[in-house]
Symmetry: C2
Subunit: 406 residues, 2 copies
Amino acid sequence: MARVVKKFGGTSVADLERIRSVATIVKAAVDAGDQVVVVVSAMSGVTNQLVGLVGDASPLYDAREYDSVVATGEQVTAGLTAITLQQMGVDARSWLGWQVPVRTTDAHGSARIEEIETELLDERLNSGQVAVIAGFQGIGPDNRITTLGRGGSDTTAVAFAAALQADRCDIYTDVDGVYTTDPRIVSQASKLDYITYEEMLEMASLGAKVLQTRSVELAMRYRVPLQVLSSFSDRPGTMVVDEEDIVEQAEISGIAYSSDEAKITIEQVADRPGVSAAIFGPLADANINVDMIVQNVGAEGDSTDVTFTVPRADMERSVKVIEGLSDDLGYTSLRADDNVVKVSVIGVGMRSHAGIAAKMFSTLAEKGINIQVISTSEIKVSVLIPDEYTELALRALHTAYQLDAA
Amino acid sequence: MARVVKKFGGTSVADLERIRSVATIVKAAVDAGDQVVVVVSAMSGVTNQLVGLVGDASPLYDAREYDSVVATGEQVTAGLTAITLQQMGVDARSWLGWQVPVRTTDAHGSARIEEIETELLDERLNSGQVAVIAGFQGIGPDNRITTLGRGGSDTTAVAFAAALQADRCDIYTDVDGVYTTDPRIVSQASKLDYITYEEMLEMASLGAKVLQTRSVELAMRYRVPLQVLSSFSDRPGTMVVDEEDIVEQAEISGIAYSSDEAKITIEQVADRPGVSAAIFGPLADANINVDMIVQNVGAEGDSTDVTFTVPRADMERSVKVIEGLSDDLGYTSLRADDNVVKVSVIGVGMRSHAGIAAKMFSTLAEKGINIQVISTSEIKVSVLIPDEYTELALRALHTAYQLDAA
């Protein structure tokens, strides 16, 4: 007997037929003796429709009202799922965020879970009842409904798994696991059986949109074993676990890429103490999230070139901020380029295997791909390259690191 | 300055454009210095859609889950209405049943309001904030969402008006008031400026579907002045008030009809003590609501004919119940007929005017309409006639009682 949280995303509960498939999966676990908590998203399309209504009512809407409107999507799915389970003879009831309650901060629209009361749920689970939780929602200190931000149902699922000390948290989606890279680009991509939390975090934040980043952080903090799998097939998925639970480490686990990047280069900035602060302080004040940064000493010794990346949507705004600093910085030219892609190789194996980065650079060089910016962390190496080389780079790296499916 | 509850039905909040019209009406009242409580229904069509989903999920659904799903309709409208008001510069917030809270019985699907906590609302209203209440819903003793049954938002509105000691409760709908009879059948029908609670109750329960019966009972009990009016025009509607507030009483106020009737006749039942109980006891046990009853002494002195009406949907079931009693009752024949209509003339003026019933019978006789069953109460006379005469009877009576519009 295990206690398991199973989370089903929008496409997995898109209509009553899909909800019946979900109920069949849940019933199988119950019949096998498991205690099951189900976390559901809104039926696919519903959240967008509700968000659209709110935006049409007023572009500057009250986030508290937004939350109250948008949270109905999960409320409907939770009720329908409980009814469907009951019809299959499974004891079940729905729980809304305020009923549990799931206490959150008051940051409406992107609240964080602070506490989940588990006493009553514990009792019901022990008595064999399935708890169907409306994902994505909680209740704030103002006694009003809060939502956790897009993709928040993943976080709901992991938070319940942690609070209820579940043995596993299964995240059902429309793909059957985490892949070595995007299978739409590299047909040789293969599903990973295991990946570590740290790697998954890098994968998630680098654009592999399988899990919400916050849910992975939470799973890592509370050591909740996560499984990513498909509700459309019954194959096992990818387990996201602690590093020590993976016996044999490959050099790298996966290759991620992100097109949501823009590169900005400031040429011949006066090279004096405090110049970095003079550039990045104002960008931070403008709420622009700077990612990669490179500083080169320019041709003349007293000036330097600074290159950095920002989210593509913030490129124009970033240029305006820097232009406003031109008197102070005294640069010669300012260039912005959004035809770039960030490609990253990721793997905890990097800690023990040498030469991972060197292999990346030489592989790209062999293909004639020019690297514009490099950044590294303990378990990843990222490079910025022209975006027309995305496919070539991913394929070449996938082969070089021996990730191609047999 | 007055404190007013304004309730808007489904067609009045059918889309964002209609919600903007509602907000304009509310803003006008606020600008005039009124304290305003708005009660909203689900956008038209939404409740039916949600009820359909629940029914498709399982014909035998859990009423608690039904309530949780169906209550989302009003939750969405309340949020959108609050946002729209805010956009027009009106301070407003939405309130869900559990937030107020509106405490109800645990009869899920048709709960009754037991208590409304008003302290916080009172405070907000006094500070000038508009309270937008999600109609139709409350919270049961089990801490789960309850709903009040179809049309329940009228009851929500009246209950808030009573609890908050409002000066008036405006019920906005898609007709501009209560008419002397159905204008689709009698083009001469005219809008009433005033009607008493008692008359409105008879009108409501006899098929004029303007207000939910329960809401009128509640308004009468707490002496809440009700106004029925249209959100699509700005003409005054019909005031539902105490009898003493109406200066001049017409003989009758309106003529109602109901096609939801079926007549059952049992011929030559043994005429012995207890025979009525032997018939109507088993029907009551089968949850069949008997309305009109007539008992005639038959041709032979020791037997009697019994005729009664039941809801049309219960006719077949009623026949089966009576057939099951044939040994005991020893009747000679049993006939059922659903080609009947109940026509009623209604008016508190009946108490002071003589000959109201006689005028009804002679008017129908002049048109050659045969009366099958008669029943009377203090303020109404109802007759059962063949349903093919519905239009003829309504027109003739409308003229006879001088209700025709000038």
